[in-house]
Subunit: 325 residues, 2 copies
């Protein structure tokens, strides 16, 4: 049995609670939150809640802590802090800050001799894994990453900040014809506009100027200006009814040659009903690997690049080679 | 620079020669064959050929030997033999014999303290990798493997053994409508006939009874009887002109739930112009990993399940986490 703690209690943590129900080798010791444990217990009676201040007293009771805070302000502080006393896995996903986060977690993990696996999820995570394996087994080629169809939180937030907008949901959608071209192995480069389009569902405040809002969205630099963007104005009721899910997914495709004119196309594709539930499931598999690595005496900061596939599985090695190879 | 030897000289070995040209960190020391090195040198002046009897004198000149013999009679003998003095990678692909082959390679690798990575390719290999990662990150679900469209050597051989057949090529083809159903995440089980069909191109001897040949193919137990099989009689010229390539590929698809009604579909797909060239490229990437593992002091028999993705890449770790994660 692997005893886990969950640090933070949002959508991702709720996904972890669901994921461990699908994995018989896990036991949830408790959830650590800055919010009042008593109030959280009223919300969910199935699990124990503790204050983050109590975490040290669980040092010998928890094999690995699953860090469920946000990448912007929580994980940069919490992961280095917690790895000083626990093995951890986190889903830090700010690509341009990964090296800094790695160094911060590594420094403390090397001292405490714990394992901290960072940036676990599907991108970064499964997509990264496929990108480096694809690159390595087909070195002469091009890799394409498409995201969606899925809700982009950052783009939805950007729309919500526009004057006159009550609520909004933005979908990033890969362009089918480009996907098909990429799959044909033509090796071409594509612009942002050629790869993705953006679809926005916007609830305007009463009396707001919809034409201006639409214009502001479509011309917003970086977020929308480089894409073909469609804006639909809908009611709050429609938004809540038809756009409350958090689906996502995407494609990593590599095409390349092994010799003149001999082409290969490799594709990895995810179609997810719930982004946080799927990310949580990946975190749980890597939590298992984290504990196995720690028990072998490994320590320091790790990523999906360091983890041997066998460590993700709850089957023993004999079984894996006999039935899964 | 990684110095490799190639053991055996068939299609796979020729693929390895092409693959190393795409990887700047490899150097081919020589090819070891049971055939006369002088005659082989006439066939290919770019590389050194040696008799298999000379192999021991290369013990300190070769970092890893890429085993290019067949799974049926070569590799079961050669891999355990060569791993007693060299690191090796092989593409042993007889699924039901893998445990025995593993044990034979492992026994000698543990004594010689070398690394032997067996069953490297796309199935077993990349497909196996995806099967266990998919199972681990989405434990409540079903995994489907489809092969093709591609040439099956075993099925082509089976047709050639029929009286009156001069030559033949058999394509295994996934059934599109089943693929689409699987991708919808319905979780259904399918029969062999529902997943694949078989298409045969047959050159009959002059005067042979084509109706009987077609009947013998379609009713052949295990190979064809369980599938919808189409037989086309063509001339030897047509076969050579239109069916001389060795394309292959396939799909690994897993669908499953993380909670009631919340479904996810994960898909890995390969579309290959040349089966041996692509398999050779995978072998070369795992040869790199083999040498890294050996240099870290690891030894024994390994599979793709043991190899951390970073070891496949020729980029350093700093670079990987900064740019590929």
């Amino acid at each position: 049995m692997i005893n886990i703690g969950i640090y933070g209690y949002g959508n991702l943590a709720k996904g972890v609670l669901k994921a461990v129900k699908k994995n018989s080798d896990f036991n949830v010791v408790g959830i650590f939150s800055r919010r009042d444990p008593k109030k959280l217990k009223e919300e969910n009676k199935e699990v124990n809640f503790y204050s983050v201040d109590e975490v040290l007293s669980f040092k010998d009771k928890i094999d690995v802590m699953i860090m469920c805070g946000g990448s912007k302000s929580d994980l940069p502080q919490q992961s280095p802090l917690i790895v000083s006393n626990f093995n951890i896995v986190d889903s830090f996903d700010t690509h341009q800050m990964i090296t800094e986060h790695f160094d911060n977690v590594n420094k403390n993990a090397l001292v405490s001799k714990h394992v901290g696996i960072i940036s676990v999820g599907w991108d970064p995570g499964m997509f990264s894994l496929n990108r480096i394996i694809f690159d390595s087994i087909l070195p002469d080629g091009n890799t394409y990453t498409f995201w969606g169809k899925g809700v982009s939180q950052g783009h939805s937030d950007a729309i919500r900040r526009i004057d006159g907008v009550l609520d909004a949901r933005q979908y990033t959608i890969p362009i089918d014809s480009t996907l098909e071209e990429v799959r044909s192995g033509n090796g071409k480069k594509y612009s942002a506009r050629e790869m993705h389009k953006r679809e926005c569902y916007v609830v305007a405040k009463e009396g707001a100027d919809k034409a201006r809002i639409e214009q502001e969205i479509k011309t917003m630099p970086y977020y929308f200006a480089d894409y073909d963007t469609t804006v639909h104005f809908i009611t709050k009721e429609e938004l809540d009814k038809n756009h409350s899910g958090i689906p996502h997914g995407g494609f990593v495709i590599r095409s390349g040659e092994t010799s003149e004119g001999v082409n290969h196309v490799l594709e990895y594709r995810l179609k997810l009903d719930s982004n946080p539930e799927f990310t949580a499931s990946i975190l749980v598999a890597y939590a298992r690997a984290c504990v196995k690595m720690y028990k072998r005496g490994e320590y320091g900061c790790k990523t999906v690049f360091d983890v041997a596939p066998k460590d993700l599985s709850n089957l023993d090695y004999q079984n894996l080679i006999a039935h899964k190879l």
